[in-house]
């Protein structure tokens, strides 16, 4: 049974780690979470990001739900922001999340199969 004491332990561990951590190079992942996104499966997509980032302790990655960007037909849409570079992925599924994390966020190489340009000129 998970208790609030467990949460305190998680906090203590996190606080210990902060002191050891170097600079935070911050990768942001935005997941479209409006009606269109949710209907197309954005929740399991975001959920997968949250799970893997937590499990693999990718502490420089922040995942945020965002509104509709107006491309409802090709949701779920995911944007990855690294430094000043923005990559927009569309029709992302759970497998896509695994690839984006492995190949792009960790590997540094954009996953062409999901890039928005494939669907829209």
């Amino acid at each position: 049974m998970k208790s609030l004491d467990d949460l305190k332990k998680i906090r203590d561990n996190a606080q210990k780690k902060v002191t050891m951590r170097g600079k935070n190079d911050g990768i942001r992942v935005l997941v479209g979470m409006a009606t269109c996104g949710i209907s197309a499966g954005a929740r399991p997509v975001m959920n997968r990001f949250v799970e893997i980032v937590d499990k693999q302790d990718l502490e420089n990655v922040t995942i945020t739900p965002v509104g509709c960007i107006g491309e409802c037909a090709i949701e779920p849409i995911v944007e990855v922001l690294i430094d000043d570079k923005r990559t927009t992925y569309c029709k992302v599924d759970v497998d896509g999340v695994d690839r984006i994390i492995k190949e792009h966020i960790i590997g540094g190489k954009v996953v062409d199969d999901y890039v928005i340009g494939k669907y829209r000129i």
Binding site: D6, I10, T35, N47
Partner: protein, 185 residues
């Protein structure tokens, strides 16, 4: 149609986030004796004027410039009405918005509540630090999840710190299982 009521909750709460609420309260009440389920979402966001409010459940009112309402409410209303339920909205500008949907608990067309923990974790991760209070009552039993309390315990550790979201999910899942389990004693 959304396959789970928890997806509707996620969707409707995005409106509250866009309305710059500081607290979103979600109340679920399941009453087997009355055969009723209600989902109430109350925010303290900027609210809607009467004009906007009168169009809220009209699916064709959706325009890109006034994106604070849209298809979401009409879908939620359809889900409620499919079970002989209702959906009501009250809103006051600068005060907030209250949405209440009711459902018949044993209706064949009632969508499952689904993965409420996924919905709550995603809501908690909003980047405006909006707090979420979730109360779920099943007959006499109640479970509560409150990000204000969690923030207090975590001090300056963010929700994104290693292990926090996992803890939240398990805590919610176990809490919900417990309130539904007690009944069989």
């Amino acid at each position: 149609m959304m396959e789970e009521l928890s997806l509707h909750i996620l969707d409707v709460c995005q409106n509250s986030i866009n309305a710059n609420a500081s607290l979103i309260q979600i109340f679920i009440v399941e009453n087997t004796e009355k055969n009723s389920l209600s989902i109430e979402i109350i925010d303290d966001g900027h609210g809607m004027n009467e004009e906007t409010l009168s169009h809220v459940s009209d699916p064709f009112y959706t325009t890109r410039t006034t994106r604070k309402v849209g298809l979401g409410i009409s879908l939620f209303k359809m889900s409620a009405e499919a079970t002989n339920g209702t959906l009501k909205i009250e809103s006051k500008e600068q005060i907030g918005t209250k949405i209440k949907a009711t459902f018949e608990l044993d209706h064949i067309d009632l969508a499952p509540l689904g993965d409420i923990e996924d919905t709550l974790v995603i809501l908690a991760l909003n980047d405006k630090f909006i707090d979420i209070f979730y109360s779920h009552q099943y007959n006499e039993n109640r479970f509560e999840f409150d990000t204000r309390k969690i923030r207090e315990i975590l001090e300056d550790t963010p929700f994104t710190a290693h292990g926090v979201t996992q803890w939240m999910k398990e805590y919610i899942r176990e809490g919900l299982n417990n309130i539904h389990k007690e009944e069989t004693k």
